[in-house]
Symmetry: C2
Subunit: 177 residues, 2 copies
DNA sequence: AAATTTATGTCAGCCTTGTTGACATATTTA
DNA sequence: TAAATATGTCAACAAGGCTGACATAAATTT
């Protein structure tokens, strides 16, 4: 007999399992791995009064110097109003500078300053250390398997963004450095 | 000549690279992979007026039925006030029920209802589909490499949480089950 | 040349989800 | 009986998303 709301509030006491072949273990591994992966830079950021949003902006400006505001919005997939707040702070604190576009003077090209470059590196270092430790004794082949998997997790339309980053050229597998 | 604020705002035009052996490509792959991985359930959640916080609570209550509030706080690493809001909504909408602890009646054991179980599965399915597609033709060995890497990314003290989940027993590598 | 579109900026207000601090209640433990 | 514990709840605040509206300058189209 169910209750008057039509809801059956009977507790289910058995754990969910990969009933329909649902891959729970990798789902959870991704959750925990990402949670701890992002916790590394959080402490450094706090000293600057910055958050993760600043980190992402700073990272991609360092990786793609000269990218425009519109391009950055595309990578981050947020609205310009969201970006504006953190970008303004990064500019005011001298981590990023804007340069008027050479051909299209409406555009603002974003570049890191020395200060911004150095902070970006400081943020990347503990993350990189964690990755190196996690790879541990993995072979080059294993590393490739991991990279292939992670890249395949990205929406196909957006994989181009990854290829655009220096060192991630799609021609990589052909050995042309 | 630097400006009067002592800040050198000169734009750096070269992209950051793995200068000190910093592993930028995996850092970025994790960012993009996680971004798209979490976008799958977001659409379903929106139909219920739920967010990612609800998803996490629902997921772990389904994976560890009967866990107490304190245990859940430990897994999620948030404060009880944060949890209270979303948990209340999940209880009010009949996705989760509370049962008074049998031995310690101060405790509230959390269980999914049929409704909650079914939503948890609906949320896991597209994520699982994405994972399956990403694994593609990967061999069992490759999958193990990926799982080992992700697990190693988690803080050592917290790896116990993963082992506690059904199907993730640490004895797995001995081939039992 | 005028009209339209585009790239960016900005103001105002709202939502979710995290935080801290304080305090209440029931229950268990010392 | 007193103290500690598990949970709940109130209030206030912050970060970082969002939408909608409007402004400006520059490029493009008509």
């Amino acid at each position: 007999m169910t209750d008057r709301t039509g809801t059956n509030a009977t507790p289910i006491k058995t754990a969910i399992t990969g009933e329909d072949g649902v891959d729970l273990s990798i789902i959870e591994l991704l959750f925990f791995a990402y949670r701890d992966f992002t916790s590394d830079p959080d402490q450094i950021l706090a000293e600057y009064g910055f958050g993760r949003a600043h980190h992402r902006v700073l990272h991609f400006v360092n990786r793609m110097p000269g990218l425009t505001v519109a391009e950055l919005l595309d990578v981050l997939q947020i609205t310009k109003q969201s970006l504006a707040r953190v970008l303004k702070q990064l500019i005011d604190t001298g981590h990023i500078t804007q340069v008027q576009g050479e051909f299209d003077r409406r555009q603002r090209e974003l570049y890191p300053t020395e200060k911004g470059r150095s902070l970006a590196l400081a943020l990347a270092r503990p993350q990189s250390r964690r990755i190196r430790a996690a790879l541990g004794s993995s072979s080059a082949t294993e590393r490739e398997g991991i990279e292939r998997f992670l890249k395949a997790m990205v929406n196909p339309e957006l994989r181009a963004q990854i290829d655009k980053l220096p060192g991630n050229a799609s021609g990589k597998e052909h050995g042309n450095e």
